[in-house]
Symmetry: C2
Subunit: 372 residues, 2 copies
């Protein structure tokens, strides 16, 4: 485990067993071991899997996508018809809104995600806008509800009276942006079943819960949708005239995460070690990363590996000369965005068990095993 | 991620970032990424950490170990006096009784351990027997209670009225066996704080909860100890004349775990891949490992890497020719012990959220990335 402290972050590292960390067995909730981030694009087999219910089995020959509600020409497309429409390919980072929940103390309900419920992939599909144009979106439609084929009775209070389909709305102004895709490919191949085969939504810049998998229905609505997954779950408390009001989570918040070293990794003293990570923001760009190796007492600037690209993460690195003094050290990374916003110092309780975007402590041990 | 399928299991693999997986941030509950098992002895920095309360800080100059209760000569030893007694070094596997809990469906309470809440280390210390002889254990003492300096109010019902110290009893017949140590070294170095510095118990063959960390008190008792951690927690239901009675968990049950491949790892088709794992039993030896690559329909025999050694794990390997047919495959491993016992097919509900020792499914993907 000692090994070389010196790493190249630009070259792929030695291939090693990958696989995912199980956070929940059924439904399938698996996390990427985040120290495995080596490339700008997350390989599909390393991309986290977040499911609310068992993954439906959809036969592509039976597949139908219905577009209805506040539209002039409700329509239904089969898979072939969707594939024949002009497509686009976009890179987008998806992060689960509950990523890093294991860092909340005291512990809270929900899957105990650490760092790896996030990934950056290339998505190919038809812009939602093109479908809404074809269906003739009414002027008074305020939101577009995306509904999946996955169904069940959710666990968190208030619990609806019977099984419901997974569904989330996207505000009209976001739904008509060119980046929002009705996607059928991930990283150049058809979607895997766990990632929404045959068709899913991709809402770049929003937390993963907006990118509905196994998408079968698109419904334009004239009043805000108050579905389970934007009120009971995936909601937060905002304040209106001092009174708390419930709102749906949407845009991803600014965040930077250390991929290497990993928690409790042992590093050699007095060596160059490249701290490596990734950072992302919702609808803006990450412009600066600061790293602390003394639990936030002092900070230094890290260097970006990737250019700023809206809706995609930027990997970064920081060359650390590890201390001579044996002991435990706490590393932190903190991002700043193009608006001058920096990550908050702690978790905002109005977000409940979601939006854990403060700098996350990575404790490492510095010691020389040969001197034991 | 593709990489070479062919591995040597006898040679250490390329060093790669190690570190641990966080299952609970506070108190510290960290798991070994089990695909990192490369050596017979688990390096200390990879050994899982299971804590019930924050780790106490003990100054070794103040440290005292008291031996009292049903003994003729109650005594107290300081750290130096303990170190001056004749010591022994033994290899023992410790497994958390809740290891693999994440495989239980539906999900149950408690840390969602996957495979890595187990490790095999060398422990050095004074046999408990020597201390009990020195203190003059009374003939009518039936158990020995081991008490740590860690304290708090536990979370599971029935909850005691106030903070209590972590304590567990060992039956007399086990306590006087030569393998039970009052240990101050792990893998040749003083214990780390997370592993019980300066002194802990090691009860080989029993689940980890018996190996009390931060040990400060040894109390011989004349009636069975009914403490929280052997009645409320770490207990199971046995049957006496058809009536359920509560008993304390003790011996580790026979178990075999696949370390590589890892869940959702992608393997190349039609290649030799060495499936690799470890198996252990409580008070007997593991004598046989069967591996299935088709979810239990057919089984083949694996080969041991390590000899049988009471209280320590045996690593094993199995050469698999991966199928030509792309798809998902479920791997299982099943051990047999010297008594002819084999692992059960499923989890016994009498053990509640503990003793998850049935063959655990490892789903892998077989496909050739170049043919995508």
């Amino acid at each position: 485990m000692e090994g070389s402290n010196k790493q190249s972050v630009d070259e792929p590292r030695q291939s090693s067993p990958a696989g995912l960390i199980i956070r929940q067995k059924e439904p399938t909730n698996l996390e990427m071991p985040f120290d495995k981030v080596d490339s700008y694009i997350t390989p599909t087999e390393l991309f986290y899997i977040r499911s609310h219910f068992p993954a439906p089995r959809i036969d592509v020959t039976d597949y139908q996508l219905r577009i209805k509600g506040a539209v002039r020409n409700p329509l239904a497309l089969n898979y072939q018809e969707l594939r024949e429409m002009p497509s686009e390919t976009r890179t987008a980072t998806l992060e689960c809104a509950g990523n890093s929940r294991v860092f909340l103390v005291p512990q809270v309900r929900g899957a105990q995600w650490e760092l790896g419920a996030v990934g950056n992939a290339e998505w190919t599909g038809v812009p939602l806008r093109a479908l809404l144009e074809r269906a003739g979106l009414e002027d008074d439609a305020c939101e577009v509800v995306l509904e999946g084929a996955d169904r069940g009775t959710p666990a968190e209070e208030p619990i609806p009276p019977g099984p419901i389909s997974y569904a989330r709305s996207v505000p009209r102004e976001k739904a008509i942006q060119p980046e929002v895709l009705i996607a059928y490919q991930m990283n150049g191949r058809h979607l895997s079943r766990d990632h929404g085969y045959p068709v899913r939504a991709i809402v770049p810049g929003h937390y993963g819960m907006a990118s509905v998998k196994w998408l079968t229905r698109i419904q334009a609505v004239r009043e805000p949708f108050q579905g389970y997954w934007q009120t009971s779950d995936y909601g937060y408390w905002d304040y209106l005239d001092g009174k708390p009001v419930r709102r749906a989570l949407a845009e991803m918040k600014l965040k930077s995460v250390i991929a290497r070293p990993r928690v409790y990794e042992t590093l050699l003293p007095n060596r160059s070690y490249t701290v490596f990570g990734a950072a992302w923001a919702g609808e803006t760009d990450v412009t600066e990363i600061a790293v602390s190796t003394d639990d936030g007492q002092t900070w230094a600037e890290a260097h970006f590996i990737d250019p700023a690209r809206r809706h995609a993460w930027r990997r970064w690195k920081f060359d650390w000369l590890t201390p001579n003094q044996r002991g435990q050290y706490t590393l932190l990374a903190r991002a700043k965005d193009a608006n001058g916003t920096v990550q908050p110092d702690g978790h905002d309780p109005n977000f409940g068990t979601y939006v854990i975007n403060h700098p996350l402590p990575i404790e490492v041990l510095v010691e020389d095993p040969s001197e034991r």
